[in-house]
Amino acid sequence: MPTAAGPGPSRRAFLAVLPLAGTGGLLLAGMSGCTTSTGGASTSRVTPADVTAAGAAHTRETALIEAYDSAIDQHPGLAETLRAIRAQHAEHARELVAQGLPEAATATATAAGTPATTGAPAGAGLRSSPAVGTPPPAGSDTPETRATTLSALAELERTTAAAHRTGCLAAGAGLAPLLASLCAAESAHAELVAALGAPGAAG
């Protein structure tokens, strides 16, 4: 199927065979072969509708990247974990670009701290506007602001996961598995970040 283009088949067959013993292994290996080799839609993998959906998903990833950049700046003690998650979002953005997005729409996908080029108000709800002239207590690194930041990141991950899921259910066969993967990753990030911000969690 078109979903398994790229490095898939050999690895998938390998993974499928391993957990099975005896004839069952042969059976599953056979099925896996079918799954990965029936790529009938060898024309374009991604429809125009999917390019649009991938663009929307890319905008969501960019908003997450910006939110993590802001959080990393504000909370050096959390930087190690937050940078690792941010790197995954950058990878998500690259994967979406690989779905056939026009370069212009994605130029800043992996650049650190650059605003989105798209017009959508991505992540607007998360970033607090810096108040001019007053020392912003919200910008300091205290246990309270840390908890607030992590809670906001967790919420953004959750809403992003939900949007990826909705996008996945509407997407064509070429894009749907990627959006499913992103939905799963963001769900895990949400749980992870929320746990980091929970009372008693080690910073």
């Binding site: 199927m1 979903t3 974990t81 940078r83 998500h92 259910l169």
Partner: protein, 152 residues
């Protein structure tokens, strides 16, 4: 089998992984059972994973029957990717079980539509969360506890 319906193949692949996961999580639970209070959190992860994969298995059997297909049966035993020795080995096994199941779910998403695709997406999310919990319990740093692209 006649001309194979790709959806049946995808659901069957997920079901085969679910059968293996039910076996593996039961094995991990058996290893953890006599290990005392220190193994409590890992035991709970194994118990939840076992129940979840059983539930998924039943949903997949129902989805296949709804298509008039014969669901593949479980094997008597499965070769495990790692022998679960102690808490660490059991957590390692629990994490790997989710990784493998996730590959089947991820691939199925592109083949399935409608409610069947929802089943696969939600299964992939659940597998990813359980895999992350097992890795965190094993002491994996938070930033490495989940793959960037689960199932791919």
């Amino acid at each position: 089998m006649t001309a194979e319906d790709p959806a049946v193949v995808a659901l069957s692949s997920m079901l085969a992984a679910a059968h293996a996961a039910v076996y593996a999580t039961a094995t991990a639970g058996g290893v953890l059972a006599p290990l005392g209070a220190a193994a409590g959190p890992a035991r709970e992860l194994a118990r939840v994973a076992h129940n979840d994969h059983r539930t998924l298995r039943d949903s997949l059997v129902a989805a296949l029957r709804a298509r008039g297909a014969t669901p593949p049966a479980a094997l008597a035993a499965y070769r495990l990717p790692v022998e679960p020795a102690g808490v660490a080995g059991s957590l390692d096994l629990l994490a790997r079980v989710e990784d493998r199941s996730a590959v089947a779910a991820h691939d199925a998403v592109g083949v399935l539509t409608g409610a069947d695709r929802e089943l696969a997406v939600d299964a992939l999310v659940a597998m990813t969360l359980r895999g992350q919990r097992a890795r965190l319990a094993a002491g994996t740093p938070p930033g490495s506890a989940v793959p960037a692209l689960p199932g791919s």
